[in-house]
Amino acid sequence: MSLRSNDRQWGSVAKFFHWLMALAILGNGIFGLCMDFAHSPMQKIGWFAWHKSIGLTVLALFLLRLLWRAVDRRPPDEPGPRWQRAAAHMVHGLLYVLIVALPLSGWWFNSLRGFPLQWFKLFNLPALTGKNEELAHTVIGIHEYLFYFLLLVLVAHAGAALKHHVFDNDNVLRRMLPFGKLRGTNSQGEKP
């Protein structure tokens, strides 16, 4: 498997970004919803610090991913009905928007509350805006609902991938799987 994508499957860098970010976003989102269960204020502070650090990491990974996407070639769509390909691209676009909107809305909330923003205790990032506790109340709601919305979009994204994998038996999911072997005549995916 090469670092770069080819005409049949995604390269290992694209796969790395895809799966690491999927794990980080899902994990951090579920973790974020559980943070109220902290048993002490200091534990809550620590959990929030992790949540914020992971969120910032997702934002940084996204920027790197965009850079990589700009230089990497992308495999063309697998054959399929036009509406399916359009829907897939729409869902991808929506996911990209949400990947940015989730950390940014968290950063925005954090700024409105006047909390420090520290990345794994290593360095601090500035506030996006001044303190406004009333608006913060609204923005934390937006932050949370964006995650629920992302879960919905994810159902479409992962559901479609599984549908292709299980019912259509094609390469849509295989070409993104970490150690996926492609189906079909040119199963190596790349020429030696």
Binding site: I45, A49, G114, F115, P116, Q118, N124
Partner: protein
């Protein structure tokens, strides 16, 4: 000695003694004075003030031996611009103001360190008394003076934010004291 002189002498002595033996006493103008502190939370500095405190100031740069600061601070009056933090500070984990409502600082000696005057004293906070030194900058102005004081207190010396709050990678170990007092002569 006449009876007049006998009556007058103690009065004269009484009037003379403070100017000979003691430093001048000052009254603090609370409205233009500030007792501030600053520390660090998650890599970000924050500033706070105590809104209720009293200070008895006797000071003369030429009579350091008889100069004295005696400061009492109401620990429920700390404001740092964050409601959560301000709510937590008087609590049992930090100042424990219910049990120890006031902090008390009283000087023991003043010394000259180069050009800097340093006030050594004892700070009693949260039931613990430990020595604390403050840099003193006293500037006479007309009938009064301004007094600026800075120093550092190690919060854990006094158990402020002990237990799980003792993690100094989250809450900084040092609390910097900065006070600006406007004084008028008594």
């Amino acid at each position: 000695m006449t009876s007049f002189a006998r009556k007058l002498l103690p009065l004269l002595l009484a009037a003379a003694i403070p100017s000979v033996a003691g430093a001048a006493d000052y009254t603090v103008q609370q409205a233009s004075s500030k007792l501030g502190f600053s520390s660090n939370f998650q890599g970000q500095n924050f500033d706070g003030t105590f809104n209720k405190w009293t200070a008895a100031i006797s000071y003369d740069a030429t009579k350091l031996a008889t100069s004295k600061f005696d400061v009492e601070v109401d620990l429920t009056s700390a404001k740092t611009g964050d409601n959560d933090r301000d709510g937590a500070l008087p609590g049992a984990d930090f100042f424990n103001a219910a049990k120890f409502p006031k902090a008390h600082f009283v000087t023991t000696t003043f010394r000259q360190n180069g050009t800097q005057v340093v006030a050594d004293g004892n700070l009693t906070l949260r039931g613990v008394t430990k020595p604390v030194s403050l840099n003193v900058s006293f500037k006479p102005q007309g009938a009064g003076a301004t007094l600026d004081v800075t120093g550092t207190v190690k919060r854990l010396d006094f158990g402020v934010g002990g237990g799980e709050y003792a993690d100094t990678s989250v809450i900084g170990p040092d609390v910097k004291i900065n006070a600006h007092l406007t004084l008028t002569a008594k």
